[in-house]
Amino acid sequence: MKSRKRLIFWCSLLGLILAMTIFSDLLATQPVNEMDLDSVYSPPGEGHLLGTDHLGRDVFSRLVQGGKVTLAVAGLSVALSFVIGVIYGGISGYAGGWTDSVMMRILEALISIPSLIFVLAFQAVMQGGMWGMTFIIGVTGWFTTARIIRSEFIRLKDAEYVKMAKMFGTPVWSILTGHLLRNSLPPLLVVTIFNLAGAVFIEVSLSFLGIGIPPSIPSWGNMLYNAQNDLLIGAWWIGVFPGLLIFLTILSINFIGEALKKSGRGRFHA
């Protein structure tokens, strides 16, 4: 009972953050890039709810708009890695045998490489914008998904109802989606949720280092790019608010993931 209440709490917190970013256009009090050099580094208060940054841009407006960018990049990249992971893991798990073992060896190797390394390699070449970033995070984030899908498919492949379906001549396609995939959803959901947290992490980290999303696009990571400098100057609000929001977002995603994991325990073999 208690855990249910907790789940609702974290879900509504995440929902609140999501809503805030989705309706950012309504919430933002200033255009994101409007610069006002007359009020550089004004502290939170009147006129600017959360203060302004080094170019006199409104922190609150950028925060909500930046959230949209960060969460869109994270969400889309996770969707991409979901698709790749499902296809790769599905083929490997369903085909079995030789194909499976080769694919698994490769996957095993890929998993043991820090994905950040691949992101860096890509980034060196592309140095792309938002979509490039989404693509990069997506294509380097599917390894766990593939592993889960594979083990689920192997487990479910021999289940009675799948055998039955095969016997009745159900097309492979429909067995794959209707039976195998649908029944693998619960563990898949959990791993996808954790992937989402990971994707947010990568975006903010890279943008913080200055090799992520181009600085002209506000994202939570980009907002922190200058934060160290601002903190030194005493403008704590520029670094603290985006950081806090990132923390809360990842925190609620993680708590939701944990709750889902717990409720599906025993089926989750990650």
């Binding site: 890039n33 050099l37 007359d38 550089v40 080094h54 170019l55 200055g210 160290q228 400098n229 030194l232």
Partner: protein, 522 residues
């Protein structure tokens, strides 16, 4: 609620452990008689005729040296004579000067240095300074003769050129010589250690011919991030750092830091790369010069540490006040763009022949001021219908010749020829020559005026040329000048002997008299 308390307790415990663990070790180390300078960038090499670094002034000396007023004064040269036709100079050198390796500095070394600069194989950036040299002749070990093709007044300025030891280059190519990473000069400090990627250490040279340095070691710590520089200055890890204007207020509160706000000839502007067709029409360049709100930049980004710029010689005696200053005028900018055929479309941007008015300003990521200026300017250009992007890249990833526009920083406090000829003369294009004309700017009138300015012996005439040059440059802008940026240095308060003078670009030259500095507590 319990959990939160536990987390708090846990975190504070860990923090306590961390603090306790380091509290003891963090005791201030014994104060050494050394000076740590937060260097904005690391150098590729230390050969002063191949690359200009702010270490040069410490390691090397020339025949002349700029004084507090940026006037050349004899240093290694003891005396000189000039022929009546102003074409032949005879220099006498001091005989007591030895390089750091103990070898005496002779006329051979001076001649070798100038010849090396002129040698195309070495591709020295200083070559244009000595183009007027006709011949060099050694008279004896400490005397030589320099003949010019034409009278060239700035030659004494140019002879502040650091002198290289000839013997160090025997049988090796200058570009790949070991000297470049283990330099030998005759300056107040000698090379000690170069920890690549971290720091360069120089130590006092005991046989220095001028004032013996009081500070035993000068360490250049490479800190590209201005924020880290300020932090380390605040925490006492470095003793001198060039600050960003916004950092000044906070650092002033630190008791141990003294702030020097020094006037410079260091301007910022947007370099129009003429390789890009967009800039071929002068009206476009003028429009983008009009659409910069310089007042706001000086106020908001420079925090008042600077002034609006419109000419490269604004801090010079030959400064021309009556030229076009491009004060902020959106309407005028719009009119010029209209005339140039860039028409405003419904989406708020201008188009010409179906092409959008769009370009990218590149700026070095480590220079926050330039990046901020670029961002602010780019945002402001929206109001004249231009879609301008900013690329903040690492220095080493920037090839200025390949950008659309670059946030440039230049300026020289010395002779008017310095940092004008090499920047705006068409033969100094960095694509075809070894000069600094990165935008391949080319204007015959400018070329002629610059040549006249550098060769004329008459002060009045020179002034007239440079005045005209400024006017022509303003009408056919190579840069959209934005602002002169003061060099704001934070220095440890216990250092004495700092002498201010108008500094060059990037505040270079602040260490010019470092041998006279001393710690009053060490």
């Amino acid at each position: 609620m319990d959990k939160r308390k536990i987390i708090l307790v846990l975190i504070s415990m860990l923090l306590l452990v961390a603090v306790a663990g380091c509290g003891k070790k963090a005791a201030p180390a014994a104060k050494e008689n050394s000076l740590i300078y937060a260097s904005e960038s690391e150098f590729d090499g230390l050969n002063p005729i191949l690359e200009e670094t702010n270490v040069d002034a410490l390691l090397f000396r020339g025949l002349f040296r700029f004084d507090e007023n940026n006037e050349p004064k004899a240093d290694i040269a003891e005396s000189f004579d000039m022929s009546d036709d102003k074409l032949t100079y005879t220099f006498k050198l001091r005989e007591d000067i030895r390089f750091h390796d103990g070898e005496p500095l002779t006329a051979d070394d001076v001649i070798f240095t100038i010849e090396s600069v002129l040698d195309d194989k070495n591709a020295s950036f200083l070559k244009s300074d000595f183009l007027e040299v006709e011949s060099l002749k050694k008279i004896d070990d400490y005397e030589f003769e320099l003949k010019l093709k034409r009278p060239f007044t700035p030659i004494l300025d140019k002879l502040t050129l650091p002198i290289l030891p000839k013997h160090a280059f025997a049988g090796v190519e200058m570009r790949t010589a070991d000297f470049n990473s283990h330099p030998i000069g005759a300056g107040p400090y000698e090379f000690d250690r170069w920890d690549r990627g971290n720091s360069l250490t120089l130590k006092a040279y005991e046989h220095f011919h001028g004032t013996k340095p009081s500070i035993a070691k000068v360490i250049f710590k490479f800190i590209p991030d201005s924020n880290v520089r300020a932090l380390q200055l605040a925490s006492g890890e470095v003793d001198i750092a060039l600050l960003d204007p916004v950092q000044v207020g906070e650092l002033e509160k630190r008791n141990h830091v003294k702030i020097y706000n020094i006037d410079t000839a260091d301007y910022r502007g947007i370099l129009f790369n003429m390789q890009n067709d967009l800039w071929q029409d002068v009206r476009v360049r003028q429009a983008f010069s009009y659409a910069i709100d310089r007042k706001q930049i000086v106020k908001g980004i420079l925090k008042g540490f600077g002034e609006e710029a419109y000419s490269p010689l604004q801090k010079h005696a030959f400064h021309n006040e009556d030229i076009e200053t491009y004060s902020y005028d959106i309407k005028q900018a719009g009119k010029l763009l209209d005339e140039a055929g860039w028409k405003l479309a419904d989406d708020g941007f201008r188009y010409k022949d179906g092409q959008k008015l769009s370009f990218t300003i590149t700026a070095p990521a480590s220079d926050a001021v330039r990046v901020n200026m670029a961002n602010y300017v780019a945002e402001g250009y929206k109001s004249i219908g231009a879609d301008v992007k900013v690329a903040a890249l690492d220095w080493s990833a920037i090839t200025i010749e390949e950008t659309d526009a670059f946030m440039i920083g230049w300026g020289s406090p010395y002779d008017a020829d310095h940092h004008t000829y090499i920047l705006f003369h068409s033969e100094e294009s960095s694509l075809t020559g070894s000069g600094y004309n990165y935008g391949s700017y080319s204007n015959e009138k400018v070329d002629a005026l610059l040549e006249k300015g550098r060769l004329s012996m008459d002060e009045q005439e020179r002034q007239a040329s440079y005045m005209a040059f400024q006017e022509e440059l303003a009408n056919d802008p190579a840069f959209a000048f934005i602002a002169y940026v003061n060099a704001v240095y934070g220095i440890h308060g216990n250092i004495e002997g700092v002498k201010e003078r108008t500094l060059g670009h990037h505040g270079s030259g602040f260490l010019w008299n470092v041998e006279e500095w001393k710690w009053n507590d060490r």
